[in-house]
Amino acid sequence: MIRKEFFNGVRDTFPLLLGAFPFGVIYGTLAINSGLSVQASLAMSAIVFAGSSQFIAVGLVAAGAPVSIIILTTFVVNLRHMLYSAALLPNLKKLSQRWRFILAFFLTDETFAVSAGRYRHTDDSPHKHYYQLGSSLAMYLNWQLWTLVGLLLGSRIPDAQSWGLDVAMIVTFIGMTIPYIKNKPMVMAVLTSAVVSLLTFQWPYKLGLIAAAVCGITAGILIERVQKMKNSYKEETI
């Protein structure tokens, strides 16, 4: 059972591994050209393991920004992960401290999306965290591999961004979102998030993503409240 959960996690993460390819290669290329040493470029993928912030960090290194600013920027860019750990909290709180420590280290957008879908299934498997571990390790090894490829071949791979591999991530995320859209509050949450994300896409440091998500969540809760009030009003009048 444990093994099955683990490999299901790996399998369900597969299309997202493909989507990470262009980003890993571009990161490797940018890192080398920013003046960062090869060891540091690899170490960043290995121990920070947060794609967007790595991109921005090597950009800041190339611009000659001070270390304190780079660390502060990393903090802001990765703040959205707190939203993810909050959302997973009800499922992870019964695990040992060691498990929580390990799963926290590997928490990325992709693993969060895949695992949240697994935790939603109502079967009473006690090993769902192995599914998250499978997804985590798949994402981790994949990121190390593409970083290395980017560092070694970077400029020799012609414009990896234009291959359109990131479409794999987009259509997978679409398939992961649809099962949530079952009632009016969820529809409103998704629509609100969509609109706000377009209004805020120019905000720096992924802050637009956080704004869109928070507005979407708020919209969902509000509609849920309104529905509840309507229902209780109906009951009273009957």
Binding site: I71, M82, L92, F112, I217
Partner: protein, 112 residues
């Protein structure tokens, strides 16, 4: 960049990133979330995923790009449609349909 400033930069990045990911989980045994907040957390995955998907599809070169020339758009629409049509196998339907439509649209743009 000197080796020591590289070291401190990566150490600092690791500490802030890991802390963000871990802090709530670390103390999760010591508090219980109010029911209303736990309900609100149900909205996090769809809201976040939408906030990632929509700009990835519609924004190109920092501009809104709503046109059939943008292969991400028909691919995303097809993925949404397929997902709703096959509620039992949403993920497989969305991924396969989205990728196929993307490949077809890109191909026709290429040969034109």
């Amino acid at each position: 960049m000197t080796a020591s400033s590289e070291f401190f930069m990566i150490l600092g990045m690791m500490i802030v990133t890991f802390s963000i990911r871990y802090v709530l989980l670390a103390f999760s045994g010591r508090f219980t979330l109010p029911k209303s907040l736990e309900k609100a957390l149900n909205y996090v995955p769809p809201a976040v995923l939408t906030a990632i998907i929509v700009p990835s599809v519609l924004i190109s070169d920092n501009k809104l790009f709503i046109s059939w020339e943008n292969p991400y758009l028909p691919a995303a629409l097809a993925a949404v449609l397929a997902g709703f049509l096959f509620p039992k196998r949403v993920l497989a339907a969305s991924i396969s349909t989205g990728l196929v439509v993307f490949a077809i649209v890109s191909y026709f743009q290429l040969i034109r």
